[in-house]
């Protein structure tokens, strides 16, 4: 496989990651979100392995396996188990203003391209063109966390944002040093336990996982 072919396949994968990020933004059903998130992780994992192959950086294989294990298998599994245990399978979230959210999302993608333009000029890596997509995924994850009001959705937004960060690390630098990637993965794992406990706490205290109910703490006038 030539490098340019690898770069092209990688661009396709980047496009798919971006597409899933947009999908997450407007998906209403909780299982749908989970599937989209798992797909995004899978694309990320393939892309990481591909870059590792094309660039000959073998530690990226480990990173790819880590992504596969965490983001495609373990986290969706944990979330799925939690959804079943908490019986929130049928909770459908009202997503307001889909067109506006999409437009803001598109604006964020353009902004990401603008922001990363000087970096892409400097880079010599085959993956440089995907850095903008990585930043856009981060920003779309952020947007998802702001616009959605369900605890599970916000967590999926957070994890999608983290996917964007991993993707950024691969496309800008062929991955962070291994010790850092392992540490980040460990942190995500701990975070998974933390939000798992959280879901139970919120559920027992508030009946539902809609975070709109949590609005008691604010400044009094």
């Amino acid at each position: 496989m030539t490098t340019s072919l690898a770069a092209q396949i990688n661009s396709v994968l980047a496009a798919l990651i971006l597409l899933t990020a947009f999908g997450l933004l407007v998906q209403r059903r909780i299982y749908g979100l989970l599937h989209l998130f798992a797909w995004q992780g899978l694309f990320l994992s393939i892309s990481t392995a591909l870059v590792g192959y094309a660039a000959g950086s073998h530690h990226l294989y480990i990173s790819s396996i880590l992504t596969l294990a965490l983001k495609v298998i373990l986290l969706p599994y944990i979330l799925h188990a939690l959804i079943v245990r908490l019986q929130i399978r049928k909770e459908i979230e009202a997503v307001v203003n889909v067109p506006t959210t999409m437009l803001i999302g598109i604006a964020l993608v353009i902004f990401s391209y603008h922001l990363t333009a000087p970096i892409m000029e400097l880079s010599t890596l085959v993956t440089r063109s995907t850095l903008a997509v990585a930043l856009a995924t981060v920003m779309l994850g952020l947007l998802m966390m702001i616009t959605r009001r369900h605890a599970v959705t916000q967590i999926i937004g957070f994890l999608a944002l983290e996917n964007g960060l991993f993707f950024a690390a691969t496309s800008a630098t062929y991955g962070m040093p291994l010790v850092v990637e392992l540490g980040v993965a460990l942190d995500i794992l701990i975070a998974a336990f933390v939000f798992g406990i959280f879901f139970f706490q919120i559920r027992t205290t508030f009946e539902s996982l809609d975070v709109n109910q949590m609005a008691k703490l604010k400044e009094e006038d």
């Binding site: 000087p118 400097l122 690390a169 006038d221």
Partner: protein
């Protein structure tokens, strides 16, 4: 070796306490672990003081004058907090506010939190620094929601989400930094080591570094509690158990600021301009002003002092941004004395709210008559925190103000307004609480004397006469941060 002991003790204590956290002697293990950590911290400090900066563990750790003083401070405040929390948490347990698992969890996470902060301080690798910061957040999130009340869970969720996002953005900044470093230092783990980066900082690509600094300042700034990224801070401080408010306010904010300043040194070296400094000055000044005016409207005592922390972190951030020897010296001193004073205040506030069974300031009265240590401790703490002589914060604020008048005279009035409003707001609230008759809802409680007195005496000593070694230390650190 000392380093391994220093980090190892808190980690092992965390594991031990995860099993024994609700035993009768658990608070004593907690105190003993923190005391051992503190002694190891002192040993490390002596070593660095005698021999100068050192690298250890295959360049994985780096200790210089800047981080060693923060490490000693961290282990010291965690020790006094452990002493304070012994009676405090026992009482919460007796009142049924937390159960068996809660106590185990509390003790284990307290030690893990200290481990994470020390790791963040001592590591040389900016990636590990990030991981340790995230670990510090994750270990305290569930401590904020320890009481399981609706407001506590809301506060913890806010803390989790906002700091999680903030820290994720800081990781993007770190990735960009690594990208720039790789072009100069080549691929591999070595390119994220701060000491290596510091040597080649003038060769790093300035455009990439200034972009990366924007992400870093937003990311770590969220944890420092800079306005407008501060929303989580008052909630987390007011809803969590008081010992946790004390360490969050006194220590965690410092560590986040430390991370930011380490990155700023690199960015300054690469860009050769004062741009990063201006960004920090802007955030700092905004934090001072917004926090000072928010102080006026508070009804909850812990929430009020949380805003005061935002104000003081704003002052330190502003001073680091200002740069120059006097302002940097002032900022380093400010981090030290603010941390000591604010944790002492939280100790007395914890006692006061336990005595009255509420955190509402309108219901807390007659503290001096009810319990002289709590009353006098609070009033001296407040005198110190608003920057009155002869306490240490007066010295640091005076230095920072002098540097401001010299370098950016136009900002002086704004800074003074912030300090003045905070002064008025705090006194207006605290004065009625300490004076007057004992109200019917007040109970007499045995309190921990040592932590409050120790902290206040230290702040007083630093204000009256700064020990030589401390001054030397700060001067060395100022040289490092140029």
């Amino acid at each position: 070796m000392t380093l391994i002991i220093l980090l190892g003790i808190s980690f092992l204590s965390a594991i031990a306490l995860a099993f024994a956290g609700d035993r009768k002697f658990a608070p004593e293990i907690n105190i003993f672990g923190s005391l051992a950590t503190f002694l190891a911290g002192i040993a490390l400090a002596v070593q660095v003081y005698m021999q100068g900066p050192m690298l250890a563990g295959n360049n994985f750790f780096f200790v210089d004058a800047f981080n060693v003083y923060l490490a000693v401070l961290t282990s010291f405040v965690s020790m006094t907090t452990a002493i304070f929390s012994r009676r405090y948490m026992r009482r919460e347990r007796e009142h049924g506010r937390i159960g068996h698992w809660g106590m185990r969890f509390y003790h284990a996470m307290f030690q893990l939190f200290i481990f994470a902060m020390l790791l963040a301080l001592l590591t040389n690798n900016l990636g590990i620094l990030w991981i340790a910061m995230e670990l510090a957040t994750l270990s305290t999130v569930l401590l904020v929601s320890l009481y399981r009340t609706p407001t506590a869970i809301e506060a913890a969720w806010k803390y989790f989400i906002l700091c999680g996002v903030g820290i994720a953005i800081a990781l993007f900044g770190t990735v960009l930094l690594y990208f720039a470093a790789e072009q100069v230092l080549g691929e591999g783990g070595e390119a994220l080591l701060w000491t290596n980066l510091n040597q080649v900082k003038d060769k790093l690509e300035p455009r990439v570094l200034s972009l990366s600094f924007v992400f870093l300042v937003v990311g770590y700034g969220t944890k420092v509690g800079l306005v407008p990224l501060h929303n989580w801070l008052p909630d987390a401080h007011s809803e969590g158990p008081t010992p946790i408010s004390a360490v969050l306010s006194g220590l965690l904010l410092n560590i986040a600021l430390y991370a930011l300043v380490r990155c700023k040194v690199l960015v300054d070296g690469a860009t050769g301009t004062h741009q990063a400094g201006y960004i920090m000055m802007g955030f700092g000044l905004l934090s001072i002003l917004v926090a000072a005016f928010s102080l006026l409207r508070q009804k909850d005592i812990k929430r009020m002092f949380a805003y005061s922390s935002i104000e003081h972190m704003g002052i330190a951030t502003f001073a680091f941004g200002l740069g120059g020897p006097i302002a940097t010296f002032g900022a380093l001193l400010h981090m030290l004395v603010h941390s000591l004073t604010k944790s002492a205040i939280f100790f007395t506030v914890g006692h006061a709210s336990q005595m009255h069974g509420t955190q509402e300031m309108d219901k807390i009265r007659g503290l001096i008559r009810g319990n002289p240590l709590v009353g006098w401790g609070l009033i001296f703490g407040v005198i110190a925190i608003v920057g009155m002589p002869p306490f240490g914060i007066f010295t640091s604020e005076f230095l920072i103000l002098t540097a401001t008048i010299k370098d950016v005279p136009l900002l002086t009035p704004l800074l003074l307004i912030g300090l003045g409003v905070a002064f008025a707001a705090l006194f207006r609230r605290v004065q009625p609480m300490i004076a007057g008759e004992i109200p019917p809802n007040q109970q007499f409680l045995k309190v921990a004397h040592v932590p409050v007195i120790l902290h206040m005496v230290l702040v007083l000593i630093i204000g009256l006469y700064m020990p030589n070694f401390l001054a030397e230390w700060f001067s060395t650190a100022v040289g490092l941060l140029k």
